[in-house]
């Protein structure tokens, strides 16, 4: 199992397992884990293709991903998920933490990409 998928599993566990010790903190924790998994999955994608892009800023990597792959909407959805996760990974005035449904969608996108 890849590192990115291990991290995703941790995020999934936070959503699905009711655990009083993580009450209330799981949405932000899951968002932090999912964003890291996404960034690692994209790095792995480049490494597997021997393309030295993994040191670029993530934003640039995601644009490259969209340019270089013709396979459907997945790169665009990965890019979109990363944008949404990046919002959830900062404290913004007046915004609440993401919901379980939002997090499940983003985790699903990263899972699909790293499969």
């Amino acid at each position: 199992m890849s590192d990115a998928r291990d991290v995703l599993q941790l995020a999934r566990d936070l959503l699905s397992r009711s655990d009083p010790s993580t009450a209330g903190l799981w949405p932000r924790a899951a968002a932090l884990l999912t964003r890291q998994a996404l960034e690692e999955a994209v790095d792995e994608y480049w490494r597997a293709r021997h393309l030295p892009l993994d040191s670029l800023p993530t934003q640039a990597q995601l644009v490259c991903l969209r340019m270089m792959t013709s396979d459907g909407s997945l790169p665009a959805r990965v890019h979109e998920a990363w944008g949404a996760l990046s919002r959830a990974c900062h404290h913004h005035p007046y915004e609440l933490a993401p919901t379980a449904e939002e997090l499940a969608t983003w985790i699903g996108v990263v899972e699909e990409f790293s499969a």
């Binding site: 010790s21 993580t22 903190l25 924790a29 964003r35 900062h90 404290h91 005035p93």
Partner: protein, 233 residues
């Protein structure tokens, strides 16, 4: 009329009616009254609700943080409860703290709990600590600028623009200028020997830190930094 003005108009009819002496109900329940309201109006609403609460129990549901931020800033006596729902609608209810204390408590909880594996703690704690410092900066900036009589919308725009980078936000808090990022580290170093290191760890750490992370120590230093940032005049 804008949606926010319509909401305010509706409330100005509903609240007096619902609190008539003739009404048999000694409580009012309001669902999401701050939707599309501008921040100045939220302050007004908090004061109106406080008046109503002198003789009634007032229960308000809301899905953003504005009313609770206002209630804390204006020191309106209120109990704030946070409701979250995991998968399969497992509902959790907890007493809400102010954002800075909440994130710090969360970081300490993750550091001390067996509920999360080490691998997750190492990845999550730096991010939670950074949330605490971000929230502390925003509180200081908002307090300072609103006290100066600045326009609410302008202050929120400034904070939103600065919220994508910790350096900008700290510069805004320390120097009242988000573009003085270069002066952040020297200034932190001068204030307290550990602040600069902590700041740099948090800046990097939201993307995960390599190697072992002294999690409890990091949470403690982040707490010192956050409380100091929040106290900036």
């Amino acid at each position: 009329m804008s949606q926010g003005e319509l909401n305010a108009l509706a409330l100005s009819l509903f609240i007096p009616r619902a609190t008539l002496e003739e009404s048999p109900f000694r409580f009012i329940v309001i669902d999401d009254p701050v939707q599309s309201m501008d921040p100045a109006r939220v302050d007004g609403l908090a004061r109106v609700l406080q008046q109503a609460a002198a003789t009634r129990q007032v229960v308000v549901f809301t899905h953003d943080d504005r009313l609770s931020e206002t209630v804390r800033r204006l020191a309106v006596p209120a109990t704030i409860i946070e409701v979250a729902r995991r998968e399969n609608s497992a509902v959790e209810v907890r007493r809400a703290l102010d954002p800075v204390s909440k994130y710090l408590t969360d970081a300490f909880t993750v550091a001390k709990t067996a509920g999360l594996p080490d691998q997750a703690a190492r990845r999550v704690i730096p991010g939670l600590c950074r949330f605490a410092v971000e929230a502390a900066c925003m509180e200081a900036v908002r307090r300072r600028r609103l006290a100066r009589g600045e326009n609410y919308a302008a202050v929120e725009k400034l904070l939103t623009d600065a919220s994508h980078g910790l350096t900008k936000l700290v510069a805004l808090t320390l120097f009242d200028d988000p573009d003085r990022g270069g002066d952040v580290l020297p200034s932190l170093r001068k204030a307290e020997s550990t602040f600069a290191d902590t700041f740099q760890t948090l800046n990097r750490g939201a993307h995960g830190l390599d190697g072992p992370v002294p999690t409890i120590d990091l949470a403690r230093s982040a707490e010192n930094l956050a409380l100091w940032m929040r106290a900036r005049p």
